[in-house]
Amino acid sequence: MHIKSNELGIIMGGLTIIVPVKAAVPNVTAVRLDPVTHNLVREGVPLMLNPYDRNALEFALRLKDKYGGKVITMSMAPPSGKDFLESTIGMGADEAYLITDRAFAGADTLATSYTVARSIQRLFPDFDLIVFGEETTDSTTAHMPAQVASWLNLPYVYYAVEAEAKLEDEVIRVTRYLEDEGVYETYEYKMPIIISVYKNSNPPRDLSLVRKINARVNGLVKVIDNNMLKLERECIGLRGSPTIVAKIEDAKPIERKRQLFKGDPKEAARWLLDNLTKEGVIRP
C-alpha cells in the first residue's frame, strides 16, 4: 500500500501506480495475418505506444506529481516492445517491464488479461492503482481494464478524467465522464482499484529524449519471461484463449447509386436538393 517504512523505519509516502501499455500497430491496414490462426503477425512489424496509453501515463504521472510515489509501466509484447517501453521512461515513468515469452503468443483478451493481472500480482503486489488507456487503436475492444479487475476482484472505473487521493484513508476519488448520459460521475473507493482513462482527456507530456536514451544505454527496461512468472501453460497464449477466429473475409460495401456531379456550385446544390426531395429524405 501507499505507506511503507523502509529499513531505517522512515515512512515513505506516495502511490504505486502501474500503467499497463500496449504495442499498437501504427498502420493497421498494412498488417499481415497468420494464414492458419488468422491472428495478427506482430513479429517484424514496427510498433508504437498505443496513443490512448499516453493519456493513461499522463494521468498516472499527474497523480505521482501531486502525491509522490512511483509510476511503473509494463507491457506484454514481443521483444521489439523494448523501444516503446523506453519511451514511457522518457515520458517520466520510473520503471518499465517487458513481459515477453513465446508462450504468451496467440492470446485473446481473456489470456492477455490473465497474464497482465498475474504478472502485476507477482511483480508489484503492493500496488495502489492500475491505470489503463481507454482502448487500443488497433483492436479497440476496451476489454483489458474490466478483465484485469475481474481477475484481481477489484473495483474499477472507465472513462476517468481526474482523480484525487486521500492517502491517510487509502481512498481514491475518481471522476469520469459518461458520454451517453452527458454526466460526470464521481466514485470513491478504497485502494487498490483499476482506472481506465477517457481517451484524449489530457494532453500527454513530451518525451525527454535524454531520459529515453539513458533508459536504453543503461538497460532500464527489465525483461521478464515465463520462467520467472511461472504462469500455468493452459491459462496463457493460444491455449488460454477461449475465442477463435473461425474465418476472415473482406468487408463488402452496400450497393450505392454512385451518381456524381461536377460543375457549377449553384447547379450542384440544386441537383442535390432535387434528388434528395425525390428520395423523400428531406422536406420539399
Partner: protein, 353 residues
C-alpha cells in the same frame, strides 16, 4: 500424455463446462430513468431471430432498485421472459457490483449466449462478466448469427482497420458473450399485446462496494444544442477537409436548416473542432440516419463502418478520387464552401416563400 488429453486439460482457474447444460439467449437490458436504451431493445430483436434458429427463448436481464413497470417493456419488444434483481443496494450503478450480480445470475441459470449493448456502461460491464465466467467475449459485433448444429454464436466484427471482417467463435466455453454498438440493428416494434414471464430474483449476497461508490453526479450543462448524432434522421458530418472550426460552423448551419444534426470524423474530433460525443465511426458512434451528408470526409474505412447503414449517403469533396464517393448515392465534386453556401441559400429561400 496423448494429444487428446493435452487438449482437454484446461486452465486450473477455469470451471469445467458441460455445454449441454447451457440454454437460452440473454440480453442485458440497460435503462436510465425508467427508459430502456435503444441498443438493448435492438438486441432483443436480434436475440429473437437467433433464438428461432436454435429453438430456444429470449430472456431480458435487469438490475437496479425500484424498477417498477419498466420490467414489462422487454416483453413488448420480443423477450419471452424478464429476470430482474431489485434491491436497495443496487440503487446506484457501480460497475463491479452490477457485473457481479449478472455473474451470479448467469451461474444460476446457465444461458448459452449473453448480449450487451455496447453503450459506455455496456462496454464497462460486459468484459468483467465474461472474464468472471471464464469465457470469451467479442466487442462491437456488426453481425451475429448462430450455427444450428453446434449452437456456436458467429460473432462478426470488423478488425485491423476495418477492411477485414473476422468471424469469432467460442467453441468450447459457455456462455458466449458479445457486445453490439447501438443502431447496428433496427429497433423492433413495441407490441403491448405480447405476454411473457416476469421473475423477481433474489441473490444470496449483493457484492460489497469497497468504499462509498458513486458519491456525486454532475450533468453537463448544455446550451441550445442539436440532437446527438445517433438520434437524428439527418446527419451532416464534417471531415478533415472542412479545414477548421469555421468550416464546422458552416456545416452546423446547414444541419440546422435541414432539421438534422452535426457530427464529425475521428480527425475532426482529435483536432478539437467538435466534441467527442459527435464522432461517427468505428471508435465513435454508429449511426443509421435516413440521410447522411459527408463533407470534406475522405472515407477512411473506420469511418465508413460507422455510417454505411445510412439510407441515403451524400458526399461533397474536392477530390474526385476520395474513397467516400464509392459509398455514396449522390456525390458532388467541388469546393465544399461554395456548394454548402448555395445549399444554405436554397434551403432558406424554400423556407421563405
Amino acid at each position: 500424455m496423448s494429444t487428446a488429453q493435452a487438449q482437454q486439460k484446461i486452465c486450473s482457474e477455469w470451471n469445467p463446462v458441460n455445454k449441454n447444460e447451457y440454454k437460452g439467449i440473454w440480453v442485458y437490458v440497460e435503462y436510465v430513468n425508467g427508459v430502456i436504451k435503444d441498443g438493448s431493445l435492438q438486441l432483443i430483436g436480434k436475440a429473437r431471430e437467433l433464438a428461432s434458429k436454435i429453438n430456444t427463448d429470449v430472456t431480458a436481464i435487469m438490475v437496479g432498485n425500484n424498477l417498477g413497470d419498466v420490467v414489462k417493456e422487454p416483453i413488448y419488444y420480443g423477450a419471452d421472459r424478464v429476470v430482474y434483481v431489485d434491491h436497495p443496494a443496487l440503487s446506484k450503478y457501480i460497475p463491479h457490483v452490477y457485473a457481479n450480480v449478472i455473474v451470479q445470475l448467469a451461474n444460476k441459470y446457465k444461458p448459452e449466449i449473453i448480449l450487451f449493448a455496447a453503450t459506455k456502461r455496456g462496454r464497462e460491464l460486459a468484459p468483467y462478466v465474461a472474464n468472471s465466467l471464464r469465457t470469451g467475449i467479442t466487442a462491437d459485433c456488426t453481425e451475429l448469427d448462430v450455427d444450428p448444429k453446434t449452437r456456436d454464436l458467429d460473432q462478426v466484427r470488423p478488425t485491423y482497420g476495418g477492411n477485414i471482417l473476422a468471424h469469432i467463435r467460442t467453441p468450447s466455453r459457455r456462455p458466449q458473450l458479445a457486445s453490439v454498438r447501438p443502431n447496428v440493428f433496427p429497433t423492433p416494434p413495441r407490441d403491448t399485446s405480447r405476454n411473457g414471464e416476469i421473475i423477481s430474483e433474489t441473490l444470496d449476497s449483493i457484492p460489497s462496494i469497497n468504499g462509498q461508490g458513486l458519491v456525486e453526479e454532475r450533468p453537463v450543462v448544455k446550451g441550445e444544442e442539436l440532437p446527438p448524432v445517433e438520434k437524428a434522421d439527418i446527419v451532416v458530418v464534417a471531415g478533415r477537409g472542412v479545414g477548421g472550426v469555421d468550416g464546422v460552423k458552416l456545416l452546423t448551419e446547414l444541419a440546422r436548416l435541414l432539421g438534422g444534426t452535426i457530427g464529425g470524423t475521428k480527425n475532426v474530433v482529435d483536432a478539437g473542432w467538435l466534441s467527442a460525443d459527435r464522432q461517427v465511426g468505428q471508435t465513435g458512434k454508429t449511426i443509421r440516419p435516413t440521410l447522411y451528408i459527408g463533407i470534406g470526409v475522405s472515407g477512411a474505412i473506420q469511418h465508413i463502418f460507422g455510417m454505411k447503414e445510412s439510407k441515403i449517403i451524400v458526399a461533397i469533396n474536392s477530390d474526385p478520387n476520395a474513397p467516400i464517393f464509392q459509398y455514396a448515392d449522390y456525390g458532388v465534386v467541388g469546393d465544399y464552401r461554395e456548394v454548402v453556401k448555395e445549399l444554405i441559400e436554397l434551403l432558406k429561400s424554400r423556407k421563405e416563400p
